[in-house]
Homo-oligomer: 221 residues x 2
DNA sequence: AAAGTGTCGAATGTCGACATTTGGGGGCGC
DNA sequence: GCGCCCCCAAATGTCGACATTCGACACTTT
């Protein structure tokens, strides 16, 4: 059998999938023994995977009680998105001189493709495209520390909230919002780039938090 | 026996101390079995502590080989400090309206105390004071996500490089640099605050990286 | 002598089991 | 009927041992 790395890594992949597929939702408890039986392995690699993902903020751990999928309050959601905007805005601003016109053409095409996919209700592909768009942007800067934090936060938000993304904006909004990012980048005004990216994520965070609060209310009723 | 939390937490504390006391320096390998025997516990809690600290960036893990104290290159050091400046600058700018004149008096006193301690060669106390100064600043903002990242990065830099801090600046420089931060805060100009904090940490990062490179050269010779 | 190869030791990754602690459910008292 | 307390099952934290893998050393080969 080809070795796809250690068991721990496979457990992490499995949990990622569980989150993506909605089989694990915020607040759920992760039963180590059940996971161990299901994956046919012992609890040791599972515990290591969980402690790593706790570090990523995807789970929270209450000692002697258990590990739960992170359940963010409305303000925490906004905080996370604001921080994401801070990090990505700075990343992009720092690499502003490195984006070529070819890059912009590529990114512009992404924006158009987003709108098309949104029109066709291809939500999964749409979300992947949005992810690619932003990943492409913040990976251009050479600051590894910054990229690492941005990547982790991006993952966290993706896994916890991507389900809601499709309903946040209309296809046209989706396109224009991202084209606005490209437009400001092309002015090469670093400070403005930062501010626009921050606003971009702040708005998304507010909408996600709002949607999330509504869903919580429905659950209770 | 009093229960200071789980074994894992105690291992983490122990490793923190090892780093602080210089008994673990960048590049060192952590032998799990040796640690287990020394702490009279099994390897399980030690492995969990290590995976958590790997998440904090204090250690790096090579599968099937071992866990090592993180050894940053010069550019990575600068990257980390730049990111720190970004995070703390934004934190402070976001909480700018919440700082009272009493706060400023307190912080001003800290600056004076720093200079005094530096004059008296009280390096440990000096470092703690500097830490308190910045912790006080970035904890004022209400953004938990931001505080978490800032705190973790602060810890990482503290444990890996605090040894060099005492030789970075003269006592007078130390004071004036921090007073400059306070001065710009009092203007309530959020954008300027961010920029000044970024410059503050960029310069420190450059000096640390320089010092660090020198030390590496000496080691090799 | 340098490069490649094979072997061995040691450290990691993983396992199954035990002890300890928590949270809930049932029973008792008010 | 409501609230408190005790007890127990279940899940976590921890342990010691085994299998597997990597790195170093010595040996062979050119």
């Amino acid at each position: 059998m080809i070795d796809k790395g250690t068991y721990k890594d496979r457990v992490i992949e499995f949990l990622y999938d569980q989150l993506r597929q909605g089989e694990l939702t915020p607040g759920d408890k992760v039963l180590e023994l059940a996971l161990a039986k299901r994956l046919q392995i012992s609890r040791a690699p599972i515990r290591e995977a969980l402690t790593q993902m706790v570090g990523d903020g995807l789970f929270v751990c209450r000692p002697q009680v258990g590990t739960f999928v992170a359940s963010l309050s409305a303000s925490e959601i906004i905080d996370a998105y604001v921080t994401r905007g801070l990090l990505e805005g700075f990343s992009v601003a720092a690499a502003l001189q490195d984006f070529t016109s070819a890059d912009y053409q590529l990114l512009q095409a992404h924006c158009a493709a987003m709108e098309a996919l949104a029109d066709n209700q291809e939500q999964l592909a749409l979300i992947e495209l949005g992810r690619d768009f932003h990943t492409f942007l913040f990976h251009r800067c050479g600051n590894r520390q910054l990229i690492e934090y941005t990547q982790r936060l991006s993952s966290k938000l993706h896994l916890l909230f991507y389900k809601h993304w499709a309903s946040l904006y209309t296809p046209a909004e989706l396109r224009s919002r991202h084209e606005k990012l490209l437009a400001i980048m092309q002015t090469k005004d670093a400070m403005q780039v930062e501010l626009v990216f921050r606003a971009h994520y702040l708005e998304t965070g507010q909408r996600v938090a709002e949607l999330y609060a509504k869903k919580q209310q429905e659950k209770e009723s």
